[in-house]
C-alpha cells in the first residue's frame, strides 16, 4: 500500500526504485467472465480455457531520486504493466521490486470521480482517492480550481462537463499531490493545446532533486525536453536505456523500419 504525504528528504542519486528480474504473466480466460457455471462446465473437460500473456519479462531497472525517467514503447509493450507493478497495484509474477519512498500514480485521469457529484465534491473525492487528507485538499482547493480554469463550473455536476473540462479538473487534482515518486502514464495529453502546455510546465516544476518522476508517453518531443533518462520497452522486454536523444532516435528509427537489430536478438 502506498503511504502518502510522508515526504522525507531524499538525496539526489539515492535509489528510489529497484526492479530486479521482474516478470509478469497474465492468465486471461477465453470465457469472458469467471463464473461458477463456466467452472462447473469445464470440470468435465479437465483443462481450463485460458491463455497466458507474458506482459513483462526479466526487467532490471534502477530509478534514482532527482531523475526524470521516460518510458517509451509501442502499444502493448508492457509500459503500463510495469508502472502498475511499481505502484503496487499488480503483484509481479517473478522478481522483486523495492520502493524507497511514497508512490503516487497518475495512471488514468479522474480515478474515484463520481459524475453525479459536483466538481467541488469530486476534487475531494479524487484527492482522497489519491491518498491526500481532507485538510491537504482544502488547503490546495483554490489552487486546484484556478489551475483547472473551470471557474463557476466547479459547482456544476461533473456529468455536465465536456471531456476536456473533466480531464482538466482531473489533472489539476493530481498535480497537487506531492509524493516522493510520481508516475504519470500518458496523462499529459489532455485538454487543448494551451492546457497541454500548462500541464507540461507543471510537470517540469515537479522536477526536483529529492523526487523521482516516471513519465510514460508517446510524445517524443516532450520526453526529449523533460527527461534525463529514457527506457524503451518492447513486448515486455527492456530494449535500451540511456540518454533520451539516443534512445528516442533508435526507437523512432525502429518505428519507421519496423524492426531493428536490438529486437531481432530475442525474437
Amino acid at each position: 500500500m502506498s503511504s502518502l504525504s510522508v515526504s522525507n528528504a531524499h538525496l539526489t542519486n539515492e535509489l528510489a526504485v529497484s526492479i530486479r528480474g521482474v516478470g509478469l504473466t497474465y492468465t486471461t480466460s477465453i470465457d469472458k467472465k469467471p463464473t461458477l457455471k463456466a467452472r462447473a462446465k469445464s470440470l468435465g473437460r479437465g483443462k481450463k480455457q485460458t491463455r497466458v500473456v507474458r506482459a513483462l519479462d526479466e526487467i532490471n531497472l534502477d530509478i534514482q531520486y532527482g531523475h526524470v525517467l521516460g518510458v517509451i514503447g509501442t502499444n502493448g509493450a508492457g509500459k503500463s504493466s510495469l508502472m502498475r507493478c511499481v505502484a503496487g497495484i499488480l503483484p509481479p509474477s517473478q522478481g522483486r521490486i523495492e520502493v524507497y519512498g511514497s508512490v503516487s500514480t497518475l495512471l488514468a485521469l479522474g480515478v474515484g470521480f463520481n459524475p453525479s457529484m459536483s466538481g467541488r465534491d469530486n476534487v475531494f473525492l479524487g484527492g482522497l482517492a489519491a491518498g491526500m487528507s481532507r485538510e491537504e485538499i482544502a488547503g490546495n482547493f483554490d489552487e486546484i480550481v484556478e489551475f483547472s480554469e473551470l471557474g463557476d463550473a466547479i459547482d456544476a455536476p461533473m456529468r455536465t462537463y465536456s471531456s476536456g473540462m473533466y480531464a482538466r479538473l482531473a489533472f489539476s487534482v493530481a498535480a497537487v499531490v506531492r509524493p516522493d515518486i510520481l508516475i504519470i502514464d500518458e496523462a499529459l495529453s489532455t485538454g487543448d493545446a494551451k492546457f497541454k502546455e500548462k500541464s507540461l510546465n507543471r510537470v517540469k516544476e515537479l522536477r526536483s532533486d529529492d523526487r523521482a518522476l516516471i513519465l510514460v508517453s508517446h510524445a517524443m518531443q516532450t520526453l526529449r525536453e523533460t527527461c534525463n533518462d529514457v527506457v524503451w520497452l518492447h513486448k515486455g522486454q527492456l530494449v535500451q536505456r540511456g540518454e533520451p536523444n539516443v534512445v528516442i532516435d533508435a526507437y523512432q528509427e525502429f518505428l519507421h523500419l519496423g524492426k531493428s537489430a536490438a529486437i531481432d536478438e530475442d525474437v
Partner: protein
C-alpha cells in the same frame, strides 16, 4: 542505504502485514466516508424524496409481509406487527450490505486498476451505505412501537450490543461475498435467492418460539437466527435477550468475519489481475 518502504514480490497466498494494512486503512477513513456518501448520492438519497423513500420502502415492505402473515393465518395482533417491522428492518441491514457488497470490488475496477489502496475499503463502504439506509428505519420502528403501545423499558438497551453484533456479521458477509464475486461473477445473480431464503429461515414472519420442534435445525444453520431473536426480545418485548443467543450470534459473526477477511486479504493483491 535505507530499508525499502515497500517490497513487491510474486503473489503468494498469505496475509499482508496487518499492522501496516490497518494503518493504511485507517488513514483512508475519510475516503471511505466520502466514497459511501457519493454512492448514496448517486442513488439520490441526499434529496428529500430520496430520504422519504428510505422510510416508505420498509413501511411498504412490512405491510406486504403483514398481509402475507394474515393470509397464511399467523398471529395478527399489534405485537406481531411490531416484531415483523423490527426484525425485517434489521434483516435489511444485513441484506443490503450483502447486495451492496457483492459488486463492490468488481464495480471498483477503475479504482483498483489505477491506485493502490486497501481493497477491503470497498466492502466496508458497502456496509456503511447499508447502515445509512438502516438508521431512518430504526426511527420508523420506534414510532410504530409507540403507536402500538409496546412498552419502552431499560432492557431495550440490550439492542445496542445486538446491533453491534449484527453490524459485525454484516461486515463479515459483505467482505466474504465481495471476494467470492471476483472469482465467480454469477454469485451476484444467485444472491437474491440466497437473501430470500435467509429471510424465510429467519424468525421474521414468525416468532422464534413458534418454530416446530422438527424444524429446530434452522436455528443452528442460520447465522441470522439467534441475533434476530435477540433483537426482537430486546426491541419488541423490552426484555433482556438470552445470553446464549447473543453469544451464538457473536460466534457466527466472528467466524464469518475472520474466514472472509482471511480470504479477502490473502487474495486482494490478485484482484487487479482478475478484473
Amino acid at each position: 542505504m535505507s530499508t525499502p518502504l515497500q517490497v513487491y514480490e510474486p503473489f503468494k497466498a498469505g496475509l499482508p502485514k496487518l499492522g501496516r494494512y490497518w494503518k493504511s486503512l485507517w488513514s483512508r477513513r475519510t475516503f471511505i466516508k466520502e466514497y459511501s456518501k457519493s454512492e448514496l448520492r448517486e442513488q439520490h438519497f441526499d434529496s428529500v424524496f430520496g430520504q422519504l423513500w428510505l422510510v416508505i420502502n420498509p413501511l411498504l415492505l412490512s405491510a406486504v409481509y403483514f398481509i402475507l402473515i394474515i393470509i397464511i393465518g399467523g398471529a395478527t395482533d399489534s405485537a406481531r406487527y411490531a416484531h415483523l417491522t423490527a426484525s425485517l428492518f434489521l434483516f435489511y441491514l444485513v441484506a443490503n450490505s450483502l447486495t451492496g457488497g457483492v459488486k463492490s470490488v468488481t464495480a471498483g475496477q477503475r479504482l483498483i486498476l489505477n491506485t493502490a489502496f486497501p481493497r477491503i475499503m470497498l466492502p466496508i463502504s458497502a456496509l456503511v451505505i447499508a447502515i445509512f439506509k438502516f438508521l431512518p428505519t430504526l426511527v420508523v420502528f420506534l414510532v410504530i412501537k409507540a403507536i402500538v403501545g409496546s412498552p419502552f423499558t431499560i432492557e431495550m438497551l440490550w439492542a445496542i450490543p445486538v446491533l453491534l453484533i449484527t453490524i459485525f456479521l454484516a461486515l463479515g458477509l459483505a467482505i466474504t461475498i465481495s471476494c467470492i464475486n471476483v472469482y465467480f461473477r454469477d454469485i451476484a445473480s444467485f444472491l437474491p435467492y440466497l437473501t430470500r431464503t435467509l429471510l424465510y429461515l429467519s424468525p421474521i414472519l414468525y416468532a422464534a418460539s413458534d418454530l416446530k420442534p422438527s424444524l429446530r435445525a434452522i436455528e443452528v444453520v442460520n447465522p441470522l437466527f439467534p441475533i434476530l431473536d435477540s433483537w426482537s426480545q430486546a426491541m419488541v418485548q423490552g426484555e433482556a435477550p438470552q445470553p446464549s443467543s447473543m453469544l451464538q450470534g457473536l460466534a457466527w459473526a466472528t467466524g464469518i468475519f475472520f474466514i472472509g477477511t482471511y480470504f479477502f486479504l490473502s487474495r486482494e493483491r490478485e484482484f487487479a489481475v482478475r478484473l
